[in-house]
Symmetry: C2
Subunit: 349 residues, 2 copies
Amino acid sequence: MPTIADVAAHAGVGQGTVSRVLNGSPKVRDATRARVLSAIELLDYRPNPLARGLSRGRCQTLGVVVPFFTHASAIERLRGVASGLDGSRYDLVLFNVESPVHRDEHIASITGRDRADGLLVLSLPVADRDLQRLTAAGVPVVLVDAPGTGVPTVVTDDRAGGRVATQHLVDLGHRAIGYLGHDPSNPFGFTATDDREAGYLEVLADAGLPVRRELIRYGPHDREAGRALAAELLAEPHPPTAIFASSDAQAMGVLAATEDAGLRVPRDLSVIGFDDVELSSYVGLTTVRQPLFESGRLGVELLLAALAGDPPPPTVHALPLELVVRSTTAPAPRRHDPNHISQPRGNAR
Amino acid sequence: MPTIADVAAHAGVGQGTVSRVLNGSPKVRDATRARVLSAIELLDYRPNPLARGLSRGRCQTLGVVVPFFTHASAIERLRGVASGLDGSRYDLVLFNVESPVHRDEHIASITGRDRADGLLVLSLPVADRDLQRLTAAGVPVVLVDAPGTGVPTVVTDDRAGGRVATQHLVDLGHRAIGYLGHDPSNPFGFTATDDREAGYLEVLADAGLPVRRELIRYGPHDREAGRALAAELLAEPHPPTAIFASSDAQAMGVLAATEDAGLRVPRDLSVIGFDDVELSSYVGLTTVRQPLFESGRLGVELLLAALAGDPPPPTVHALPLELVVRSTTAPAPRRHDPNHISQPRGNAR
DNA sequence: GATCGCCGTGGAAGCGGTTCCACGACTGCG
DNA sequence: CGCAGTCGTGGAACCGCTTCCACGGCGATC
């Protein structure tokens, strides 16, 4: 591997000059610059990023902390991140989080510009102490889909989203509406779906509907959990006529459970999800769309701006939500007897 | 940020000793080691990875080159990669490839251990010249789902897979079988689906069926392309009764096109895909499963073995394929008149 | 009891860049 | 025509770590 000294020798200049050429300094005579460039060409020289990083005190790398492949939604966000990074000079290093320990380890491992020049955290809350430490160390942080103070944040109004979803069901005449979310005390500290639940509760209250605690269930955001929880709801003595699942992944499970129980969607049960992942359009799921791709992209843009010495204020950027009505929601079945719906469920367990 | 010199001063030792403690050298007296460790603790010292990398000539990072989010299958492989990397000391840097230029740029940018200690390339062929250059520079390379000489490779027998899929359709009595793949001259140089096509052609020949060129179409591996190509096939004067799509993504498009044409799957058209991405199980797509997750994981394991100084021979690891029959394939419709099937297609364009 | 290792350690020389400082040559001004 | 200022440049210090080399002290050996 040729070094800067080799280039300097070949070009007959000092290594300081080669470095200036490399970094586009204007204080190099054109003739000199040409000699250096041709020596670089001749030797097929490339600067060593490690040495450069050590010397400049930064590493041209962006860290992305992401609960990796547990949620399809994370992938969509990552796509946005990758697209926002395209054309920039930064490398992307991925910190995969599959447990709370992971999250803390990764965040603790960043102590300065030697590991990552900036940090983008997806869907995971970061302790204020860590945020302050990183900021003090000159590492800008941007949070996407998670709360945090003092740093730019990209969020959606999950409470409003919860309202929109629930209101849609209420408007269709449903009065027994189940809710599926994750446990508010989950160890990761996800908070988004808590807000969705709050929106759900508000709409129930506004509509004068009772809150039936037995219709609210918690579990992880995956299909199997959704399936199991929905099966429980459907086995209730007075089952819901509609279910709001706070993620599309859980909603997919609701669909499966409905089929298991010999019921038809949307005839016997309306289902609405949250996220609008790619799959949802294939399946025809009614859902609340949140701009996942755009959130990742905006997050990166904010981070790049901070790195470009144009520090964005710690604004909370709220991205819009949109109700996407497809084919899993329909008007509530008419009935005189509140137990009516339980009749066709012959093969439900 | 404290440096190794600070630690040395606090512990009253030389920095060489601190370094030895850091790297677990046995030639440090226990008492000394304890003093150093407590100084490290006290100062909350962490070694600077850049400096360490520069000094040792490697950077504790693995590069993964991946046609990022164009294929859902790439994601599945990446999950395997992430899981295989879990617990290792290596960081994962992602090189996103959305164009052939990208691919070449990224591969060219790796010139030694200063950028990545090893390289994992997914689904993209790498020129022998680059492979040799990287090997010479001490950067081990592992290829997954792509051909290459002189390096460990993880593949599936795509030709056999093409045979299995086609044979399944033949066994069901289909005699007019369409094929969807990508253009063999695609600029990325993907080759996997060419082999699937070869398998398709072999089975046709074995079964004594004619190769009808008009039933073979090429396009990118996404849903929209599959939809458009399938629409063309269905508009043929003698349309196929079954279609083998060489990726699940295209198969999804075939399903959509069938619906567009007012036809029913599998009654009017049997559809089989390839990959078995997560989505396929939801949709009930019959397909040929290839172990995507496992391929990524095995690739990383081979790379880590190479890095651990245990260089694996340049073996080709072939992973098994499996026919997964779901609900999009059925026996071919009986008919005396070969144009029979075209009758119900009133609203096809 | 002197010599020979060996062990544990300190110090310095890299690793390959960036950046600051000093310096010579040239320009422009009085 | 002399002097200050600018421009372009070379060289050295430095970034923070690893590793090699040299050296002092100790126990084993004869």
